[in-house]
Subunit: 142 residues, 2 copies
Amino acid sequence: MITQSVADVMTPIVQTVTTGATASETARLLAASDIGSAIVVDPETDENLGIVTESDIMHQVATDADVATVRVGSFMSSPLVTVASTECIHTAAELMKDRSVQRLPVVDDGELVGILTTTDLVYYIPRLRREILRRRTALLTP
Amino acid sequence: MITQSVADVMTPIVQTVTTGATASETARLLAASDIGSAIVVDPETDENLGIVTESDIMHQVATDADVATVRVGSFMSSPLVTVASTECIHTAAELMKDRSVQRLPVVDDGELVGILTTTDLVYYIPRLRREILRRRTALLTP
């Protein structure tokens, strides 16, 4: 079986914001970094408390919140649904489906080492297909 | 080879907005429908001109635009990168990767019939794995 791991396809760089960051500050960070989410950390303990996504910021716009003052601690998703970097990709895809999330922070031994997104997984599908074809040919060759 | 088509996994319902809709009106529509994008149509000809996503709305927040007045016609992505419903899933995944998009409007004979997202494709990965296992067993059974 093809068993690539989360480590093979995750994005190894993660941005963090503190609970006190405003929606517009966070939007500027995400836009400048060309990413769709940031991990929300406790400013005192540095603990990973939740995640804030571009979708969450859009929902603040939808509810007419003042994006210049509303703080991510009040609208982040928490607790985090995480995955280990050694987990197989199919298990991560199932976890995303079961928990209805599009991003999984990757945590090894309590340390945040990356993030896995639906985009990372889709970019892996063509590779998966080539692997299937290669192995099928190997199986069928006497 | 496993050749499921876009029609098998796409979301068959698509929301549309006109070019004159504001960012906050669009955010309310997306939030109420629990979706991440809408197709932008010409209010006179009903032609599909572009797409607006939750990411685009976040970018408006990032640039301090007035979301109550800025209109989607000014910040939508255009022209559309589309796919046919009969196309195979792997080709659609490659198209997403090559064009750096996370959503493909599905168009058959000029008519918008659905939308394919990275989330739709990730939800298909566990199914793909089961199919691979089933076919491998069939190949190895004398």
